[in-house]
Amino acid sequence: MTTALDLSVRVGGVDFANPLLAASGCFGWGVEYSSIFPVRALGGFVTKGLSQKPRPGNAPPRIAETASGMLNSIGIESVGVDAFLAEKLPPLIGCGTRVIVNLFGETEDEYVEIAHRLRGATGIHALELNASCPNTAKGGLEFGIVPDVLRSLTRRVRDANPLPLYVKLTPNVTDITASARAALEAGADAVTAINTLRGIVLSAESRRAVLSTRFGGLSGPAIKPIALAMVHQIRRALPIPIIGCGGITSARDVVEFILAGASAVQIGTALFANPLAAQEILVELPVLCARLGITRLADQIGAAAL
C-alpha cells in the first residue's frame, strides 16, 4: 500500500498545489511554454518584471554562458502595465495555477503606481516586488541594498494593493537577513531568496566585457550553495516564509531548499537548459520523497539539522 503524498504548500496566504514555481524572467507571461507542457502542472509562476511604461531593455549582447550558469543583463524589457492588463493577463485567467506578478520600477512611485493599477484585477494571486535586479541604470537593486529604503518601498506597495506581497531579495549585500527583516517589518508576506549575483564575463581577445552593460546577474547551479546558505540564514533569523531560488535543476535541489527553510521554490535558468525541467522535476519529486520517507512536504520546511 502506498501512502498519499502531499506536495501542497502555503506561502504568505497563497495555497500552491506543489512547491515548484517558475521564476520571473524565465517563464515570460505564462503562455510561451504552453505547447511544451501544461502551465497548470506548476505550483505557480512569476511573470517577467512588469514596469509602469514599456521598456526596451538593454542593448545586446545580453547573455553569456559561464561555468555552471549564465550571466544576463536584459534590463527589464517589459510591456508596461497597460499592455499587461489588456493583453497578457486575460489569457491567464483560469489557467489553473497561481499567477504572481513581478513589479519593477525606476522610482518608488512607479512601483506604487503599478501595484495600484493591479488592484482588483482578476487572475493575480500575489505580487513579487523586484528590489534586486542588478541590470538597470535606475531602480531595482538600488531599492534592495539599503534596508530603510526597502522598508519604505515595501510599505508603500503593501498599502497600494491588498494581494499577498513577496519581496525578492538581492544577494549583493553584506547581510541578507537585514533586507528580509525590513521586508517583514513593512508587511511583506514572504521573501524570495535569491536574485542573481553581480558578475562580469570578460573576453581576453577583445579585452572587453562580453555583455553590453559590463555587469550582469549570475544564475544557475553555480549559485545554488549561496542561495541555500541565504535561505538558511533568513529562516534562522526571522519568522517569514521564504521562496527559495537559485540554481535549482532537480527534485533533489527542491528538497534541499525546503529542508533549509524554503516553503516553496522557483526554477529559472534550468528551464532554459531544458524546457521539460519543471515537468521532469514533478515526476521525480514523488519518487524522491518516497525514498526519503517524506509524506507531507510542508512538514519538511526547515527540517534540516543545520
Partner: protein, 254 residues
C-alpha cells in the same frame, strides 16, 4: 507549427567536411525552411545552455543539423554517437517567407546551414535559386556536393583563394543581382557579412531576408537574451526571427 520538446535519439553523427559534422536525430512533425532547433544537455554531467541549430534537412522521422565545431557545445555534440539520448526542442522561429521571382542565396561559412533547406524548398517548387557561398578557406565551403544539384548556379569565394574566386561574397554582388534579374535574396552568415549584404540589396532594390545568429538561452521567447535591433526596437531572434527583412534590420530603439 508549435514547438515541442522531446527526449530524442541520435540516428547518425557523421563528418561533413573538415571540422564539420552532420547530426541526424529522431523527430516527427517536420519544420519550415529557415526554422531551427535547440539541442540541450550536451554536457552530460554538468550544466550547459542549449545551442541553436538551423534545420538543415529532414524527413518524416528525423531532422538533420550541420555544425562546425567551435566551442564547448559543439565539442560535446561532436562526441555523440548513434543511439545516444538527445534533448531537442523545436521547430523554432519564423522561417523564410515566400518569395516571388528568382532568388539569390548568399551564404557565409557555416551560414550555409541556415540556407540549405531554403535551397531545397525552392528546388522542389521548380524555382531553383542561385547560390553565392564564401568562406575563409576551401574547407569552410561544406556541402558543395549536396548543394550543386539543387541550385541553378553556384559561385564560390574564398578569402585565401584556395577555392573558387578569391574574395568575399559581397564582391560583385550588386552586379550579380542586376545581371541575374533577382527579385529576392536570402542570406545567412556572420553579422558583418549580413550588414554588407543588406546595404547592397537595399541599393539594388532587392528584397532581402537575413537569417541571424544571436546568443540564445531558451529559444522560446522568454529569456530575451537573443535580442537584435530591428525596426526601432529589440526583437527576439528566436521567436520573431531568426529571419528578418533587411529593410528594418539594424535599427535599435531611440
Amino acid at each position: 507549427m508549435t514547438p515541442a520538446a522531446r527526449r530524442s535519439t541520435v540516428v547518425a553523427n557523421e563528418s561533413y567536411g573538415h571540422n564539420h559534422f552532420k547530426l541526424r536525430f529522431e523527430w516527427s512533425g517536420g519544420f519550415a525552411a529557415g526554422q531551427f532547433f535547440m539541442l540541450g544537455e550536451l554536457a552530460k554531467d554538468s550544466f550547459i545552455l542549449p545551442r541553436a541549430f538551423s534545420a538543415f534537412r529532414g524527413d518524416h522521422n528525423s531532422v538533420e543539423v550541420v555544425y562546425k565545431v567551435v566551442g564547448r557545445g559543439t565539442h560535446h555534440l561532436a562526441e555523440m554517437r548513434a543511439g545516444d539520448d538527445l534533448l531537442a526542442w523545436g521547430p523554432l522561429g519564423n522561417g523564410f517567407r515566400e518569395s516571388t521571382g528568382p532568388e539569390l542565396l548568399v551564404a557565409g561559412g557555416i551560414g550555409i546551414a541556415g540556407l540549405f533547406a531554403r535551397a531545397e524548398a525552392l528546388a522542389r517548387s521548380g524555382h531553383r535559386a542561385a547560390l553565392v557561398f564564401g568562406g575563409r578557406t576551401e574547407s569552410d565551403l561544406v556541402g558543395r556536393r549536396d548543394l550543386d544539384p539543387i541550385v541553378s548556379s553556384a559561385t564560390y569565394f574564398t578569402e585565401d583563394g584556395s577555392f573558387g574566386e578569391k574574395g568575399r561574397v559581397t564582391n560583385g554582388l550588386a552586379e550579380t543581382l542586376k545581371r541575374g534579374g533577382f527579385r529576392s535574396l536570402a542570406a545567412c552568415g556572420p553579422a558583418p557579412m549580413l550588414d554588407a549584404v543588406a546595404l547592397i540589396a537595399r541599393d539594388a532594390g532587392v528584397r532581402a531576408q537575413l537569417s541571424v545568429e544571436a546568443p540564445m538561452a531558451c529559444g522560446m521567447g522568454v529569456c530575451l537574451g537573443c535580442s537584435v535591433a530591428v525596426d526601432g526596437r529589440y526583437a527576439r531572434a528566436c521567436t520573431e526571427g531568426p529571419v528578418f527583412d533587411a529593410a528594418y534590420f539594424g535599427v535599435g530603439p531611440r
